[in-house]
Symmetry: C2
Subunit: 299 residues, 2 copies
Amino acid sequence: MNKKAFLKELKRKVNIIEDALSQYLPGEDEYPETIHQSMRYSMLAGGKRLRPVLVLAAAEAVGGDVKKVIPAACAIEMIHTYSLIHDDLPAMDDDNYRRGKPTNHVVYGEAIAILAGDALLTLAFEVLSSLVEEPGIAPQKVLRVIKEISLAAGSRGLIGGQVVDIGSENLDISAETLKYIHINKTGALFKAALKTGAILSSASEEQITALSRYAHFLGLGFQITDDILDIEGDTEKLGKPVGSDIKKKKATYPSIFGLQEAKQMAREAVAESLMSLEGFDERADFLREMARYLLERDN
Amino acid sequence: MNKKAFLKELKRKVNIIEDALSQYLPGEDEYPETIHQSMRYSMLAGGKRLRPVLVLAAAEAVGGDVKKVIPAACAIEMIHTYSLIHDDLPAMDDDNYRRGKPTNHVVYGEAIAILAGDALLTLAFEVLSSLVEEPGIAPQKVLRVIKEISLAAGSRGLIGGQVVDIGSENLDISAETLKYIHINKTGALFKAALKTGAILSSASEEQITALSRYAHFLGLGFQITDDILDIEGDTEKLGKPVGSDIKKKKATYPSIFGLQEAKQMAREAVAESLMSLEGFDERADFLREMARYLLERDN
């Protein structure tokens, strides 16, 4: 798969997700309207859709039916979006812009933003529970996926990462703490995405483990690249001001390891992620290109 | 069952729930400690434990095994507690005390309070997904329960009720809006509690419907009584200042219908809830006494 074919396929997958998301969300004229408008505002504000795309790609890599895993992919994106809405709140990172648009609480107020996040997290589990209606997905598999996702999203995953992140602002933190933040804040949901696509497609335990390892290194490479883009990127392409990590005195890979070393670490993470896919055939080519793409991206 | 036997049995059930809750929650020395301490602070701060007790009582009423439904009962209490933590935030009701103790954000700060709520909601679904490990509970039933609970807790239930509630402060609202708030903010989770206990105990659809109807009227009676206690209650017994609804200009049953009419409505709701149990034998006596108890309570 060359880069052009990858980008075309990426766009196709993103479109599938965005269409499905719009359908799973309550309409903006459904009472009480503000909460539903607020949920749709953040869910349909664009974004890379990496996690749901990875769910589809994992299903594909193990020869599964991509269509069947779409609800689970949407659920994971809902969890990701809820976490962004809450992270942006004045009590947390206090960000007024995301993806070039005013953040949820700027538009709808803090109360509705908190509740919209809560509602998206809740809706994710409703959508997951309805997976059992897809023919050929055993209820046990759905429950395993719900367990994986709730573990990844909880205080021992995503939320734990955010807790340590906000507790580390303006502090000199160790490489170990930085790693904890990213393994949990980004890595956990990446892993859950790959595992979800694989479990629902009846992958072998060996395949699930390999895809989970892929996700671990992909998440790491993604995060380091994010930190580098905050230094070397372009404000317009990023949709957020370059240098915001430095302004907030946030510990990042470049700030702890230096820019050149951070770049080397990102390359190594991507190489590791590719190695995890060695046992897979060409149906994993999309995942392979994805790893390269995330390293080279400019936004 | 006389009142004394009921109170003894209520206490026994509450103890079962509190022991189980403590076990399901991460320990307060688990990293990152603040979030786990914050989760435990609100979860183990007492409270009536009505919803989880109702899960156990529903299982009992249909001849099920109470022990098996304990995890589900705990999950529902986690959702109730998360909603209280978020409701109390400065951006919402801005309450500094609950059950006579400082609210979560007063002790741990807003950021951790938001995240502790998020983590409890997430943990609820993790605990629910683990129900499948109980022998004799079919995975389909667990998924049905997850669906019922997520619907009840989402923007078409609990959260929808809260949205309309905060949007109605200082406004003259109609009886219809007041009803919407309570059916969703209180009723939905009451209903889900009864249904959960029944579904996991292999109740008939007829029994599930009857218990759901019981829950609807019980929730209504409970809410009206709450409103009345805010006028006629005792600050010390309630653990919160009497008259806070009036101070906040909140619409309540007494403010819309008058105190005498509200009392009559509460009595009627309890009578309706009792009627819903007509098809049940003496194993539903606890539920019957519960309805009477909630009408007569002083806290």
